[in-house]
């Protein structure tokens, strides 16, 4: 069997019989009903929602940090990190020759 000829003949047959373009009755109404039922995507609404949801946790975090800062100063824990930084920076400065 000549496969090339068979392929050519079958493709010619397929070309000669295009699919029909009939449409089921009221198909467009089905599509429109689907579109009306599904809510249209509101991108700005989604953003607003997400920001509002993030607002409360952010507020909570701010209050916690504020409370911790106040509590630290009330207990007078000092500033160990600050004095350590100062010591580190001034360690390289030779002040032996200076006098007040």
């Amino acid at each position: 069997m000549d496969i090339e000829k068979l392929q050519t003949k079958l493709l010619a047959i397929a070309r000669a019989t295009p699919p029909d373009d009939r449409v089921p009755y009221a198909f467009e109404q089905r599509v429109m009903a689907h579109l009306r039922a599904a809510p249209r995507l509101d991108r700005w609404g989604l953003w607003a929602n997400a920001l509002w949801r993030a607002a409360m946790p952010c507020l909570g975090l701010v209050l916690l940090l504020g409370a911790w800062t106040l509590a630290s100063s009330a207990l007078n824990l000092g500033d160990p990190l600050g004095s350590a930084l100062e010591n580190t920076i001034f360690a390289s400065v030779d002040t032996s020759g200076e006098s007040w």
Binding site: M1, D2, I3, E4, K5, L6, Q7, K9, L10, L11, A12, I13, A14, R15, A16, T17, P18, P19, D20, D21, R22, V23, P24, F27, E28, Q29, R30, V31, M32, H34, L35, R36, A38, R40, L41
Partner: protein
């Protein structure tokens, strides 16, 4: 002026302003063409309807991406082709059709072709069924390319524009699809005569 006589640009502008009802004339106008396209790739009518519905729903939601540089029909056809391709990829089945799956009329047609190629009738239903079976055995990309290139007689450039593939990729896929089809026919012929 009836809604269906308004041109596409007016209807699209109205839809963008929030007038969903203006989409219906567009559906009415283009659904025959989309149905014909979908019927090239799906056999069951329920699948065809699902594909067409999906095309129009996608078109509605992506209407903001239509820039108006080309006719709306071209944009819609691009969407339809890609939806059909997704359908083919999602419905890949075992494509190995043994000769035993070919019906008696199809077998008779092949027999007739083998003995006298000119005499095998082109309008036989069996021949059309055979074509469908062969096409259904191709890979999704292969079937898409062969359908557009050989059956719809589109140019390589048109196919590239519709699929989003580059021109060289379309050519490579067309070459592979023809080879796939030949292999499939050889298998059928071998199964019949061995």
């Amino acid at each position: 002026m009836r809604a269906v006589d308004r041109d596409d640009a007016e209807l699209i502008a109205a839809i963008r302003r929030g007038d969903t009802a203006s989409f219906e004339p567009l559906v009415q106008k283009y659904q025959p063409r989309i149905f014909a396209t979908a019927r090239r790739y799906a056999r069951r009518e329920s699948e065809v309807e699902d594909i067409v519905q999906e095309v129009f729903i996608k078109a509605f939601h992506k209407l903001d991406t239509y820039r108006g540089e080309a006719p709306f029909e071209h944009w819609l056809m691009r969407l339809a082709v890609r939806t059909c391709y997704d359908f083919l990829r999602g419905h890949q089945r075992n494509r190995e059709t043994a000769f035993s799956d070919i019906s008696a009329p199809e077998s008779d047609w092949l027999e007739r072709f083998a003995t006298e190629p000119q005499a095998a009738p082109e309008n036989a239903a069996a021949a059309r069924e055979l074509v469908d079976k062969v096409l259904s055995q191709l890979s999704p990309a292969g079937r898409l390319v062969i359908t557009m290139l050989e059956l719809e007689e589109r140019s390589v450039k048109e196919i590239a524009a519709l699929t989003g593939w580059s021109v060289p990729l379309v050519k490579v896929r067309a070459f592979r699809a023809r080879a796939e089809m030949r292999k499939c026919l050889e298998r059928m012929a071998k199964d019949k005569y061995v």
